[in-house]
Symmetry: C2
């Protein structure tokens, strides 16, 4: 599909079928994530692919808005690696761009996904740190549950001409 169409038709998918998600598909999504731009091209990301049912089922106790993990086939925890930074200021933006690429790629190949926020909510950050025994330099940033869509929300019109200004505020 054309990129503009993908951007306009992507929705947050929270209901999934029981169909497994292939390893190849997950690699495709992570390749897309890793092709995001980053400040000074630092690429400061790490990814944990979670397909262990026991772990997926425990995630809602850490992150209440990630309850769809109990139904997802797989989830990706996008993390920042602070050891990869030369500039401290932009890793949140870099990881957000990577996460958006991952969501768009999922939509392109027919999967459904949803961005659930982790950083900077302290109890969620700490919960994922504990669950995965993360070292101090790895910051859990966002969790993306993924599956084949069972239900797709309708298209939403988000074009807001009142948000566009010309040469002045």
């Amino acid at each position: 599909m054309n990129t503009l169409e993908a951007i306009r038709t992507r929705r947050s998918i929270r209901e999934y079928t029981d169909q497994p998600v292939s390893h190849d598909a997950i690699e495709e999504l992570l390749n897309a994530a890793m092709n995001a731009p980053s400040a000074a091209n630092e690429q400061p990301w790490q990814f944990i692919v979670i397909d262990d049912r026991n772990i997926l089922d425990r995630i809602p106790t850490i992150s209440p808005y990630a309850e769809m993990c109990t139904r997802a086939q797989v989830a990706v925890l996008v993390c920042a690696d602070l050891r990869l930074l030369r500039m401290p200021d932009f890793w949140v933006q870099d990881c957000a761009a990577a996460t958006e690429n991952l969501l768009l790629a999922a939509h392109e190949i027919g999967l459904g996904a949803v961005w659930t926020g982790v950083y900077p909510v302290e109890d969620r950050v700490q919960g994922f740190r504990t669950l995965f025994s993360l070292p101090d330099h790895i910051v859990p940033f966002a969790l993306v549950p993924i599956g084949h869509p069972a239900s797709v929300p309708s298209r939403e019109e988000r074009d807001r001409k009142d948000r566009i200004h010309h040469n002045t505020w």
Copy 2:
């Protein structure tokens, strides 16, 4: 182009031809930006489209890494509107997703663009606040110079299997 191809072939474009960028093209880019996901669907963004040559030429004095504004036909200042927030924690991520969509859309329609960081570098934030007389609730987030590409960097391989972990760190 297919979304995966767009994601993989997008590069930061810093050299532009003198060909103008149409208003329709800019609206297409902003529509893509506004279709980004956002926490609680807050859509906390505002955009200033800058095509006044005097303003474009002054930007490098505010943001040294945005010197390509002197050659760009237009630039978009992505801003956050703090009055639109119900949740304070996620607007940086929301604006980053919008910026990434804008860059991908530019690549899709044959334009070149580059993400130059503003927030949270205090002197850049203050510089754009002053340049556009922004009210306190509007935070300049990122500046994206845009034009028809005069020079395209070669493809870069960013796939890093060592950044992928399975069910554990």
